[in-house]
């Protein structure tokens, strides 16, 4: 499909050469690989086996969805959707992202890039359908809870922070919840609980498994506004 698209764009008439040049600059010279397929895979219509049913969203999810919507300029004129299509999973090349109830290990995700990232766990995945300018648009979103960063005293015990790209330690409790686009999820992470005896509180080491790009999800990857402080899991 990508080759067909490439052939079509490369044979465009002269008055559309600007677009062809943009395509060439974006997808050809320095960035090779699956960029095009990854870009096209996002927000595409889900497979029937991934969507279960349409249902009313929980009150907390609607509240968090309202915060997410307020950060999307193109959705400023619509009301917060009260219903959504619940998804079982989101499939990417080499990765299945699933909610906590269906698969604990596949619900552990990283948001951000190699330099600025945070660990979270997905509670639910759902699609919303909106009509911002008369056009139908589908957004795949996930409700997640962030793991708490170590406090100042315990950070010095975290040996993983002395090196780059090998993860860091978080408390095992969640600090806040948010609704984010599934595009912001960079990858899974491997969790190893209670690695250091000097940290008294339950904690875990999170090792990101970023396989797409070192700069994946750099755009809009900043942590969302935190609401609803939650109680410690343990």
């Amino acid at each position: 499909m990508r080759q067909n698209l490439h052939a079509l764009i490369m044979n465009l008439p002269e008055n559309l050469q600007t677009m062809a040049d943009s395509f060439r600059l974006t997808f050809r010279p320095v960035r090779k690989g699956t960029l095009a397929s990854d870009a096209m895979a996002a927000d595409e219509m889900p497979n029937t086996d991934e969507v279960t049913f349409k249902t009313s969203l929980e009150a907390q999810t609607v509240e968090l969805l309202g915060i997410w919507k307020s950060q999307q300029p193109e959705l400023s004129k619509i009301d917060v959707p009260q219903q959504g299509f619940i998804r079982r999973k989101v499939t990417r090349p080499g990765t299945d992202i699933m909610p906590e109830k269906l698969s604990f290990s596949d619900s552990l995700v990283v948001l951000g890039d190699a330099e600025d990232w945070c660990a979270a766990q997905i509670e639910s995945i759902f699609d919303i359908v909106v009509y911002p300018h008369g056009e139908k648009r589908v957004y795949t979103l996930c409700k997640l809870k962030y793991f708490t960063e170590l406090s100042g005293k315990d950070i010095s015990e975290d040996l993983y922070r002395r090196h780059t790209n090998i993860g860091r330690v978080f408390y095992m409790r969640s600090s806040s919840k948010a609704v984010v686009s599934v595009k912001q999820v960079s990858s899974h992470f491997c969790m190893t609980p209670d690695v250091f005896s000097n940290i008294s509180a339950p904690h875990m080491h999170a090792l990101p498994l970023v396989s797409t790009s070192r700069s994946a999800s750099r755009i809009n990857a900043k942590r969302q506004i935190a609401v609803n402080e939650t109680t410690p899991r343990n």
């Binding site: 290990s105 596949d106 040996l159 090196h163 491997c190 609980p193 797409t212």
Partner: protein, 218 residues
């Protein structure tokens, strides 16, 4: 935690470091106690379903040989978790910290090689990490010689620049077949693996000629 019940057999050859003299005087890189710690951490580590799990007691005879994918999981995940915890607290100028730094250069190099999207900065970083790893290897283990794989790894950035990320041109499917063949009992008869390979190819050719899809590499 249960201690290891069998003698650990993971050695430097398994980690890609070969001995020039075949001497066994140097202390092992991964000793029995370290492996026990690795096994303990492995039991508690939660892996995504798309990651190939490693045998529980890797390095012991009962665990058998690993596939290429399992080696990658073991080195880039399990060893990183445990060795950083064990060696990271040593004195900064100590040998263990240097060994850990050297190993992490290899891990970063491997992780970068498996990225699905690469740019010119990534290629420069790949080359830099590989050189740092090989230089550290020469300094930390002067009794060991580099092998042809180390030389070939220096050509990888140029190949990545020409062909793109490895997903489109690596032969991982054939690496899987290697492990399948190694587990077939051949009664020490040579050439059986080659015969099996031709049988698989013949099966594939016949299936294609009949218009069927035969996914022998799945």
């Amino acid at each position: 935690m249960e201690g290891p019940t069998t003698e650990a057999t993971l050695n430097r050859d398994d980690l890609g470091v070969s001995s020039a003299s075949g001497s066994t005087e140097d202390p092992p890189v991964l000793c029995k106690d370290t492996l026990a710690q690795v096994w303990s951490d492995m039991k508690r580590t939660v892996l995504p379903s798309t990651i190939s799990p490693v045998p529980r007691e890797v390095g012991s005879p009962r665990a058998g040989k690993l596939t290429a994918d399992q080696w990658r999981t073991f080195c880039t995940i399990h060893l990183v978790v445990t060795l950083t915890r064990l060696w990271g607290s040593a004195p900064p100028e100590g040998r263990q910290v240097k060994m850990l730094d050297n190993f992490l250069h290899l891990v970063t190099f491997t992780n970068l090689l498996h990225m699905r999207i690469l740019n010119s900065n990534d290629l420069a970083l790949i080359e830099q990490e590989n050189l740092a790893y090989l230089t550290g290897l020469r300094e930390l283990y002067p009794r060991f010689n580099l092998v042809p794989k180390h030389h070939m790894s220096l050509h990888l950035p140029a190949m990545l620049k020409d062909f793109g990320p490895v997903h489109s041109w690596r032969t991982f499917a054939f690496e899987r077949l290697n492990q399948i063949y190694q587990n077939i009992a051949t009664n020490n008869l040579s050439g059986v693996e080659v015969l099996l390979f031709f049988l698989v190819c013949l099966n594939l050719t016949q299936a294609n000629s009949n218009g069927q899809f035969c996914n022998v590499f799945a």
